[in-house]
């Protein structure tokens, strides 16, 4: 198995673990330590190719990230409303979560996948203890606080609203430049205090 394939396989196992244990922190391996792109590219390598579509939104680096992802994976680009994968530069979608595909009742799996490419962890207190996550994959009946710090509560409230009609909804990954990874599938119930 060549190195690229091996890294992709290991990273995929982390993505799978993260999706099956929402709110828990895992780690991805990437080339080039710490660059914003490296971790987003690592996810791209695992999941993107010419059979799916991408939309990149968010802060300044969005265009460069999109070009890099297309070059590496031949992924197609589409608008936010129809894309399979939406990479967000930063931790806020500016309400765009509401525009993405949530699937159809006969095909709920058509709902989009978000990848929030967050900045390095900001200093200061985190809001995360205002959040309780419950549902499949979470052992504690009372729920847990998201292990990843710095996800804006407003964004989680938006996700909660978008996923209110389960099984329709979107699924989200959150990653940091240092490789930190957390997932929130649409099955996770988000409670905000």
């Amino acid at each position: 198995m060549d190195n690229g394939g091996r890294r992709t396989q290991k990273n995929y196992r982390s993505l799978l673990k993260a999706m099956s244990r929402p709110g828990r922190l895992f780690r991805l391996e990437a080339w080039g330590a710490g660059s914003h792109f490296a971790v987003a590219m690592a996810i791209g390598e695992c999941l993107l190719d010419a059979e799916v579509s991408l939309c990149v939104v968010g802060n300044g680096g969005a265009r460069t990230l999109r070009t890099a992802l297309i070059g590496a994976t031949q992924v197609r680009t589409e608008s936010l409303e129809t894309a399979d994968f939406i990479f967000v530069g930063g931790s806020q979608s500016q309400g765009r979560v509401h525009l993405a595909r949530r699937g159809r009742l006969e095909f709920p799996e058509e709902g989009a996948t978000f990848v929030y490419c967050m900045d390095s962890q900001p200093a200061g207190a985190s809001d995360r203890f205002r959040i309780r996550l419950t549902g499949p994959g979470i052992a504690e009946p009372g729920g847990i606080a998201p292990e990843m710090r710095g996800i804006p509560v407003e964004e989680l409230q938006e996700l909660k609203a978008v996923n209110a009609d389960y099984p329709l909804g979107v699924d989200a990954f959150f990653v940091r430049p240092n490789g930190e990874l957390m997932a929130l599938p649409r099955s996770t119930r988000i409670h905000v205090r």
Binding site: Q9, L105, E109, A139, R186
Partner: protein
């Protein structure tokens, strides 16, 4: 379904100059090409995000026949890496001809270590049983599924069963079970007992005995299901509610071994295979989970039985 035929030429793949038909006997790591693996990986993630929901995928033909585990095999091949340790069982046994064949193939295309020891495995591919030893969080259990649709029992049309899942309209399944009780004073469904996952999706747990159904509820490990011929992937994450359909006044019942023990290791709390001796007509019982049975037998002095655990009749 989305159209995927572009009107312009596809950019040549990397290494175009060097590509040609694969050298004789040369295959990608784990047989599947990266594109096939990626599609399976994407679908697995969606399946995990919507527990119990069947996700269609473009199932590839494998060197083993449809109906013989190509679904489970595709998941294994999309997941496996050099660090994994693989266990493959069929009817609970590591040495069943089919399990051996699958293990041979996976080992041939990956070089991955194989084991019969449940505790040592990281990936377990199974046909029709869940191992007796409780699984741990880092393990993955991959089920081979012949018929992924639990409603097939009451409805042959895919279009119609899809509608029923969309609307969570499972009334016909409830009616089927109710009619069983009225007719036979029993629910006659044996293996493939329908379960409700995350209080939303009716799911076929694959043809595991009712004995094993309880292990799906709030497990420690991720359960992945795949039907190669029918082209569906579904999943039950750890710590997820999985409830067999039952009525308030008619509880779900597992198989009953009437207190019999395994004739080889003496265990009383495992799923037993029954074997009838041609000549004498006597019945013997032994653990379906042969690896577990071996372990107990090697460990246990006091638990070992004197004879083949025969039926007193």
């Amino acid at each position: 379904m989305k159209p995927s035929l572009p009107s312009k030429a596809i950019p040549p793949p990397a290494g175009w100059r060097d590509s040609g038909p694969p050298a004789k006997g040369h295959y990608s790591y784990a047989f599947l090409d990266e594109g096939a693996k990626r599609e399976i990986r994407r679908k697995m993630l969606k399946a995990v995000a919507i527990p119990g929901c069947q996700v269609p995928f473009g199932s590839r033909e494998m060197p083993i026949a449809r109906g013989w585990g190509t679904g489970g095999l595709q998941l294994t091949l999309a997941l496996i890496g050099p660090d994994d340790v693989l266990k493959v069982i069929d009817q609970g046994s590591d040495d069943s001809v089919n399990a051996v064949n699958i293990k041979k193939f996976v080992n041939r295309v990956t070089g991955v270590r194989v084991t019969a020891d449940t505790a040592a495995a990281t990936l377990i591919q199974t046909r029709h049983r869940i191992p007796e030893e409780p699984l741990r969080p880092h393990q993955l259990l991959i089920f081979q599924v012949p018929i992924p649709e639990p409603l097939r029992l009451v409805e042959p049309s895919e279009r119609e069963t899809r509608r029923m899942h969309a609307e969570a309209d499972y009334s016909r399944m409830w009616l089927y079970l109710y009619e069983d009780i009225v007719k036979f004073n029993e629910i006659t469904v044996g293996a493939r007992y329908p379960v409700l996952v995350n209080r939303r999706h009716l799911m076929d747990p694959s043809p595991i005995p009712r004995w094993d159904v309880a292990k799906l509820n709030r497990g420690e490990a991720l359960f992945l299901f795949c039907a190669g011929r029918e082209k569906r992937i579904y999943a039950v994450p750890p710590h997820t509610e999985v409830e067999p359909l039952s009525f308030e006044d008619f509880a779900f019942r597992a198989e009953d071994f009437a207190g019999r023990r395994c004739g080889r290791c003496g265990s009383a709390g495992t799923y037993l295979d029954e074997v009838i001796d041609d000549a004498t007509g006597r019945r013997a019982y032994s653990c379906s989970d042969t690896a577990h049975c071996e372990k107990v037998r090697r460990q246990g002095g006091d638990r070992a039985a004197d004879g083949p655990g025969e039926d007193p009749a």
